[in-house]
């Protein structure tokens, strides 16, 4: 289980102090796919940085499977906004990098990496650099890199926001497949209502402004069912999320 207990986080902006989190708590069960949705600047991404161990809370604690997070964890994979690819490495090198920094010898991961590149449909472009790829391909490289680490927690920061509608739907399906296949605990940040309902087994709607507050929690048990996007339940959920978001807007 992932437990965020009474977390505090503040940063100094100019002369004033901004309280991003004030005694914030959240629990994520193993195998859950939690989606955070809210207006920009509500602290969604910051939460992922905290979970990834890249930021330390000023108060409170974060535990993943009982262990306190003090730095980047080996089994957490984090896909940053804009994918976090390295422009000077080609597709294959980007996918391998996580394993390389862990000093795993190449012969041990070579096959797994090749399989992953195949699975993500990147074989033809494996020697291309990120600048030569389409947005969808870049996202699949980021996904491949994350999954080769065999994570037990996958964090994603607006993974599909820069993609065109069709690529986006295709990748949403891919994400859903991966989540269902591996029962991978996932925390995803998005500002797309559709995406939240399509991918989240639980959706947290965050309020505008600081400190960050959850103003709605929606369980979404039908997530992952085939054809869910076309059902009336799907439509009801999206309407509900929308009404919560609209109600929470300030001004």
């Amino acid at each position: 289980m992932i437990e965020i207990s009474d977390c505090n986080l503040a940063y100094v902006q100019g002369t004033s102090q901004v309280q991003v989190y004030d005694d914030f708590s959240l629990k994520v069960e193993p195998g859950e796919s939690v989606v955070l949705i809210g207006p920009s600047g509500c602290g969604k991404s910051t939460l992922l940085y905290l979970l990834a161990g890249l930021l330390q809370p000023t108060g409170g604690e974060i535990r993943i499977w009982g262990e306190q997070v003090v730095g980047a964890r080996q089994k957490t994979a984090f896909i940053l906004q804009e994918y976090g690819l390295f422009p000077w490495l080609n597709v294959e090198q980007n996918v391998c990098l996580g394993l390389r920094v862990r000093h795993i010898p190449k012969r041990k991961y070579q096959r797994a990496v090749e399989e992953m590149i195949h699975k993500m449909g990147l074989w033809e472009v494996k020697h291309h650099f990120p600048s030569q790829l389409s947005g969808g391909q870049r996202q699949r490289v980021a996904l491949a890199r994350a999954l080769t680490l065999q994570p037990d927690l996958l964090l994603m920061d607006e993974p599909l926001s820069a993609l065109d509608a069709l690529t986006r739907e295709r990748l949403q399906k891919l994400l859903l497949e991966i989540w269902q296949e591996q029962k991978l605990t996932t925390v995803l940040v998005t500002h797309s209502i559709e995406e939240a309902v399509f991918l989240g087994s639980r959706i947290l709607v965050l309020a505008d402004g600081r400190p960050t507050q959850v103003m709605g929690e929606i369980f979404n048990p039908l997530v992952g069912q085939s054809g869910y996007r076309q059902t009336s339940e799907f439509f009801q959920k999206t309407s509900y999320v929308r009404s919560l978001l609209e109600g929470g807007m300030v001004g």
């Binding site: 940085y49 890249l54 980047a72 390295f86 920094v101 030569q132």
Partner: protein, 257 residues
């Protein structure tokens, strides 16, 4: 591969064309001015081959090359790591940046008398002076290049489990390399100019000495032989850095999507 070959061929034709144009211009000016101080290209080229074969122009070229290349390598060895660290570690930068900003614009060349006094008349003083100047150029460029690296790129590596040293190895160094090589290419011009200056004082070796000596002996064709060698040295180093850039920063040259 074929594309790269073709590109290289185009570049080669470009260089040849430019060289021909310069020769024609030189010829034209020599014909028009008709001064003994400006020999025709033929006279200069024949003097060059004569001096290379019969005198020790080759030796002077070698000494100058050695001085410039060694100084450049030393500057890289010192400036690159320090620039990376200053660009990334804010606390160190806060201490060192003012020091660099005050000393960078001071023309280091004015210290030549002091350098000669302490390091003597040999290679060491010349290498020190060139290194002293080129080092700053590389340091400042590297530092600024590192500061441009987006924080997300560093976060991305840290999220993959990269430690502090790996951030330098896998992010900051490759990200700043294109800028570093550009500054190195520009530094080549500076390095050779400083070399010429340093070699025109109290020495008997190097192209700078050779040019000044020919001048004082009123042997313009020999002086131009020295100038041709100096130009050759500059162009060759420029091309070497260019090639390095093509090999090490291939990602910068691919066609975007």
């Amino acid at each position: 591969m074929i594309q790269r070959g073709r590109k290289f061929q185009r570049q080669l034709y470009g260089y040849l064309g430019a060289a021909l144009f310069l020769l024609a211009f030189w010829q034209y000016v020599a014909w028009t001015l008709k001064t003994p101080m400006l020999p025709t290209p033929q006279a200069a080229v024949s003097a060059t081959s004569r001096l290379l074969l019969e005198a020790n122009l080759g030796r002077h070229l070698w000494v100058s090359t050695y001085r410039v290349v060694l100084s450049t390598l030393l500057s890289l060895l010192l400036g690159l790591p320090l620039g990376l660290i200053m660009g990334h570690e804010r606390r160190i930068d806060r201490f060192l940046a003012p020091l660099v900003y005050i000393t960078y614009p001071i023309p280091k060349i004015v210290f030549l008398p002091l350098i000669l006094l302490f390091l003597g008349l040999g290679d060491r003083s010349k290498i020190f002076l060139i290194t002293f100047i080129v080092f700053f150029q590389i340091l400042v460029t590297t530092r600024d290049a590192v500061r441009k690296v987006p924080a997300e790129t560093v976060s991305s590596l840290r999220s993959l489990g990269g430690n502090r040293v790996q951030v330098y190895r896998y992010v900051l160094l490759p990200a700043s390399l294109p800028d570093v090589l550009t500054s190195l290419r520009l530094s080549m011009g500076t390095a050779i100019a400083v070399l010429f200056f340093a070699e025109s004082f109290a020495t008997t070796e190097g192209l700078g000495y050779f040019i000044m000596d020919s001048w004082s002996r009123a042997a313009p064709d020999e002086m131009f032989a020295g100038i041709i060698m100096m130009a050759l040295l500059g162009v060759s180093l420029f091309i070497v850095v260019d090639l390095l850039e093509t090999i090490l920063c291939r990602w910068q040259h691919v066609k975007g999507n």
